[in-house]
Symmetry: C2
Subunit: 333 residues, 2 copies
């Protein structure tokens, strides 16, 4: 079955950027948003001013707030917040989605309590469908502006991975195929926590040397926890792990880095999230990853300090000092 129609669920910045990217070359595309007012505005103005100003969606993209409009397609792409994915998957399960439709997650997160990856939640609701994930260093605004970008895709059905690669990829959006869903998803989820830490370092003006040391330890921590959660070391050192980590830790476009930076400059988490239109996935993921690390008995000093600062009221300065102030010893990754 050749892919001929696609629905993107989630009209935030990444969902809208993917709709803008994939609407070229005559692809049959639908974009679903939960918020009816936003959907109406998008339908009228073809622009998403709060999430991705300046990017116009062509008329060919059908914008809708009814999930049933997205049931009869060959490819369903999840770009919802991680905390909303289970609910939306459940609602979609009540529509007439076919068993051959591919369900692809572009959402970066880990579920609270269960510790499940997004594709695992999709599998619960659609046990017979092929599942895919797409993740990499893909800042929305650059993708929407047509700057060259590379990403990684994996699918439970290998033949369909190649099909997705050629259907969704282009010279400006190069897709490399990976051989596992787990590592790709875990790298994308965990790096958002480390980006908050890197942002705190920026906010405290600790300099490029400290930030680089922190990111090196973050990569080691990603590998340590991520492999215990089922990903391969090789995947974490690739585009969807190390690549996404450095993009998010250094880009001024990164929300998670910005949350950390503003915390470092003295704002409270409440002030920051109230002033942000968008979800910073590192905040819920810090909780899920902390829970997983405790269950699996993995040492995760960076995640622990960010968790304590976000959820237990630990002063940020103290958290960073404890993180950076360990004894001189042999380098241990």
């Amino acid at each position: 079955m050749k892919i001929q129609s696609t629905a993107i669920l989630g009209a935030g910045s990444w969902g809208t950027a993917l709709a803008a990217l994939w609407s070229s070359d005559g692809r049959n595309l639908r974009l679903w948003g939960r918020d009816e007012a936003l959907v109406e505005q998008l339908r009228q103005s073809r622009e998403n001013p709060d999430y991705l100003p300046g990017v116009k969606l062509p008329e060919s993209v059908k914008v809708t707030s009814r999930l049933s409009d997205c049931a009869d397609v060959d490819l369903i792409v999840f770009v919802t917040p991680s905390t909303a994915l289970r609910t939306i998957a459940g609602q979609l399960g009540q529509t007439s989605v076919g068993e051959k439709a591919i369900l692809m997650s572009c959402t970066k997160g880990i579920e609270h309590g269960s510790g499940k990856r997004m594709s695992e939640i999709l599998q619960e609701h659609f046990p017979k469908n092929p599942l895919a994930v797409l993740s990499g260093p893909n800042l929305s605004v650059e993708v929407a502006r047509g700057l060259p970008t590379a990403t990684v895709l994996a699918c439970t059905d290998i033949d369909r991975a190649t099909e997705l690669q050629s259907y969704l990829g282009s010279t400006k959006f190069r897709i490399y195929t990976g051989d596992e869903l787990s590592g790709i998803e875990l790298g994308g989820a965990l790096k958002n926590i480390f980006a908050i830490a890197a942002g705190v370092s920026d906010g405290f003006e600790l300099g490029d040397n400290t930030k680089a040391a922190l990111i090196t330890r973050a990569l080691a921590e990603m590998v340590r926890l991520g492999t215990m959660m089922g990903g391969s070391t090789r995947t974490f050192y690739g585009l969807s792990g190390a690549g996404d980590l450095v993009a998010t830790c250094y880009s001024r476009h990164s929300r998670n880095r910005r949350v950390g930076e503003e915390l470092g400059r003295g704002k409270s988490l409440e002030q920051i999230t109230a002033s942000m239109q968008m979800v910073a996935e590192g905040i819920p993921t810090a909780k899920s990853a902390y829970e997983c690390a405790r269950k699996l008995n993995v040492e995760t000093p960076i995640i622990d300090q960010i968790y304590s600062a976000l959820y237990e009221g630990k002063p940020l300065r103290q958290a960073m000092e404890e993180l950076l102030g360990r004894d001189q010893k042999a380098e241990r990754l």
Copy 2:
């Protein structure tokens, strides 16, 4: 033998920063520079305005242009340009350096023709002495300003590694010990070539996504070539490999990144090097690494393109297009 006196050979920005750092706590320190006028200025004003403006060296640091003044110390630190190290080691060999003096390289480079690391050159001249290397994400200006920094040190004599760690380390300059000289030196040398490539990406304004993809491939290329040259994978993923790579690719203080950025903005290599006081080690290292990769038959697409652009007159735009324009396929690190 406890370390009681140290000579730093090379009064560029890194040598001067290390002198400023280590001159605290009453260490007996000498700083050697080849340029007599610079040495005289440093001696008088206690400042190195061309290389490290605003940083004062205390009177306790003895500044000299005579190598013989540096012979009778317990620790000799090489911070010369890589292309000058062999000559200076040869000249030092004619003085009365004792067989127990530790020779430590902080120079990042690979010798043209021989493909030798800096510590290998030192070993030729001082076959009986303990040898050490120190390398990591250590931008000079931040170290001189006392911003927290971490680095890696290894020594052929393990007991002396621990001694160096406690003698040279502090809460602001944390030293972790590594278990091999080769990987530490190779990571520090190779990353400068990749920083030129990252700078070119900045100069062309290709965005954070492209830069992150490039750095991911650079890390894989460092591991591929570096392991064939005798380093361990583990070392390359640590502070002296991945850590130094990201620091240098992203910092506005990095000379090598700046060379790439100015090339990307259209300046010629001659214009750039003429306007720079300091050596950008990535330029000679691109040649050495290219030679090594050919001998060892290792695939090094980034090094090859930078080599072609710097030494064979290949248009930079074409080099970057060939680098970024490869076919979509499976991710291969």
